[in-house]
Symmetry: C2
Subunit: 122 residues, 2 copies
């Protein structure tokens, strides 16, 4: 008996020429900041250093017209943080793009999956 | 005067659980092998070593039921190589998936682009 994995996952990067790109890492960071209310906590969920999380936010703030995160630096736990209106828009658009892609390309994903080698059942 | 970049580019990875993934690098390698008729030449086009190109092909051959490249190892220029029927199918499906994604998510891409910081004209 063999089985195929259930559903392929998409990891999509959108590259805006030299301005920058946004992909799964930045989108997940925004999502976790919205969920955790803290950059430090969001970074920890991703096994990412606080410094690295701040770097990614800085990159996004430089890419977009408005900042994506509103934060209170420092304090216990690294301070609180929320997504700005721009941050929420960016996150929603990324997630919506991914969903549209998966839906529009479902037939191609199925066909690719059908070409995979059968996997032994665990 | 300011301007926005013209069209965002998509870099899509399709992850088939633990079986493996296919993304822009593997798709481009298949495309260049089809175009160049040689793994060595395709690798050179991508600034990729012959060894690395072979590794990627080996990974794909292990992922899919049928080999994706039919090659004559060695000889002058590293031997000739062509895509197999499976290789052509994989490449076509990847390119088709990308095209479907871009089309289905065009509104989201436009909205994201509208949120970008204006760029000074070069």
């Amino acid at each position: 008996m063999t089985q195929k994995i259930e559903q392929p996952a998409l990891r999509i990067r959108i590259v805006f020429g030299e301005i920058g790109m946004i992909g799964p890492g930045k989108a997940e960071l925004l999502e976790l900041i919205a969920h955790c209310g803290s950059i430090a906590a969001a970074g920890r969920e991703m096994n990412m250093s606080y410094k690295r999380a701040w770097e990614l936010i800085g990159t996004m703030n430089a890419m977009f017209r408005d900042p994506v995160v509103d934060s209170t630096r420092g304090g216990p736990g690294g301070g609180g943080a929320v997504l700005t209106e721009a941050g929420r828009q960016v996150l929603t658009l990324c997630r919506s793009f991914e969903a549209q892609s998966a839906q529009a390309g479902a037939a191609q994903l199925d066909s690719l999956q059908a070409l995979l080698r059968d996997q032994p059942k665990p």
